[in-house]
Amino acid sequence: MNAPLRPDYIRIEGLSKTFGGGNEGVLALKDIDCTIAQGSFVTIVGPSGCGKSTLLRILAGLLDYGMGTVMLDGQPIRGTRRDVGVVFQSSILLPWRTILENVMLPAEVLGLDMKKARDRAMQLLQMVRLEGFEHKLPRQLSGGMQQRASIARALLHDPKILLMDEPFGALDAMTRERMNLELQRIWMESGKTVVLITHSIPEAVFLGDKVFVMSPRPGTLERVLPIDLPRPRTMDAMSHPRFAAASASIRERFSHAASFD
């Protein structure tokens, strides 16, 4: 707990990834170099096709990578790991399980103590404000509630890293803002390292300690933008001059990159 937080908790060096082989191969990621500090909140923003999901799937161990090194806590990533929790674009709740059973899925798969897991699931459901919905089926919940349940599920086995792939992309703007605030609160309470992918510039700036800006064809990391805004950030932060400046600079990058097409 008191061990110093590693500044290079996640270290990516010279990472490239090609889909397919031969002349047909598509270069999805090219020469990615970056580090992510332990306990920090990093957002990755970029237009579609910039390889941000590919990067996240590599971090999650769901995808092999071709060249380069990807180190997590000093160890190269080879396949999926227990200390990583993933939140996907859709909530992917299993429709035949109640919310509680869904949240407890990691415990079953990883063979954890079910009694403890149940207590923890109840706590997490309280944290994502779903108390009282434990025994409901997913389809009885709204999209925002389903996504919150999936965040609770990703946290059940107490992973050190939370990887989130456009978790709020399917939600309406109002729900999305509320979810951003909730996620910030959850992150501040849990002290996890969070990597969140989004295609929304305001969301990236609002949530991130650092924003990784990616550009497409081939997917490259354009720049890393530190966001120096006090926490906890409220919706008022969005009208802060530094917020506007950061957003504008990212937006400019995108239009710059687009002009190459």
Partner: protein, 298 residues
């Protein structure tokens, strides 16, 4: 077919049972006061009217009994057939028992093998690709056409009928289970993979439950086919069974008796499908009412 059934049942149920949300509470007592307004009562009345006009028409136009027997003859034949001992060779219980045994054995063995092979094939994409054309080709073979060959091979006993039913029940369950496993989206598999789940855990926790609604669709088809298979098999050659009884009765121009046996066969079919529906409703309890649960007794 399914949607038509769903729609009809939905309109039926919404007409005779008011959900608190849809309609105010007030109309309920009025409905109780006038039972003729209930769709269920109306359909019973419709049946009574149809049977009554059948009886009247046959008597009025003096239709020969071996062509169309009056309803009362069928009722008498049904009564006689049912009022026999379980081992009486001319009774419904004996022959019905033989046919039911064939149906149940054929359904479980054929459906079970179909499901097992479907599971194995779907877990091996290359095997699936290899066998797919054969499954498609065999599926379009009219299985009842080989019934005489099966009887030649296996004789007049129960086993030839069971094999014929197996042929009929095997394919729908095989094909739907393969389709069900294909329907498993990669998201669910990714979710479990991200938790370092084993292939067996992925199968048990994501693939099989996703495929279950499809498998049940196949089992429902298989249940209907198994009754057809039993009767066809018994027509081709058997020592006992309701199909045999129909042939014997027709030989004696006892059309009323044949109709009565048909009623018994229908009852067997209805019992089989409703038992299956009951299991399905329990297993797929999580599905929304309009896809798995038909509101029968709400």
């Amino acid at each position: 077919m399914t949607t038509a059934m769903l729609n009809s049942s939905r309109t039926a149920s919404s007409a005779d049972t008011a959900t608190p949300v849809a309609t105010p509470v007030a109309p309920r007592p009025r409905r109780r006061a006038n039972p003729l307004a209930s769709t269920r009562v109306q359909s019973v009345l419709l049946l009574a009217a149809l049977l009554g006009s059948w009886e009247a028409a046959v008597r009025w136009f003096k239709v020969p009994q071996h062509l169309v027997p009056p309803v009362s003859d069928i009722a008498v034949a049904l009564w006689r057939g049912l009022a026999t001992g379980p081992m009486a060779k001319d009774g419904f219980w004996y022959h019905g028992g033989v046919t039911l045994a064939e149906i149940l054995l054929g359904f479980f063995v054929g459906g079970g093998i179909g499901l097992a092979i479907g599971i194995v094939i779907s877990q091996m994409p290359r095997l699936e690709a290899l066998l797919e054309p054969y499954v498609a080709a065999l599926q379009s073979v009219p299985k009842v056409a080989v019934a005489p060959i099966i009887v030649v091979w296996l004789g007049f006993g129960i086993s030839s009928k069971v094999v014929i039913i197996c042929l009929l029940t095997f394919f729908p369950v095989l094909v739907t289970s393969i389709a069900g496993f294909k329907a498993v989206d990669t998201d669910r598999i990714d979710l479990l993979r991200s938790l370092s789940a084993s292939p067996w855990q992925i199968f048990r926790k994501a693939k099989f439950p996703t495929a279950l609604p499809y498998i049940f669709a196949g089992l429902n088809m298989a249940a209907a086919f198994s009754v057809v298979g039993a009767v066809v098999g018994e027509f081709v050659g058997a020592q006992a069974g309701l199909g045999v009884l129909i042939l014997q009765m027709e030989a004696q121009a006892d059309t009323g008796g044949s109709f009565a046996v048909c009623i018994v066969l229908s009852v067997i079919g209805i019992l089989l499908t409703s038992a299956l529906r009951r299991v399905q409703r329990r297993v797929l309890h999580w599905m929304p009412a309009d896809t798995s649960q038909r509101p029968v007794n709400t």
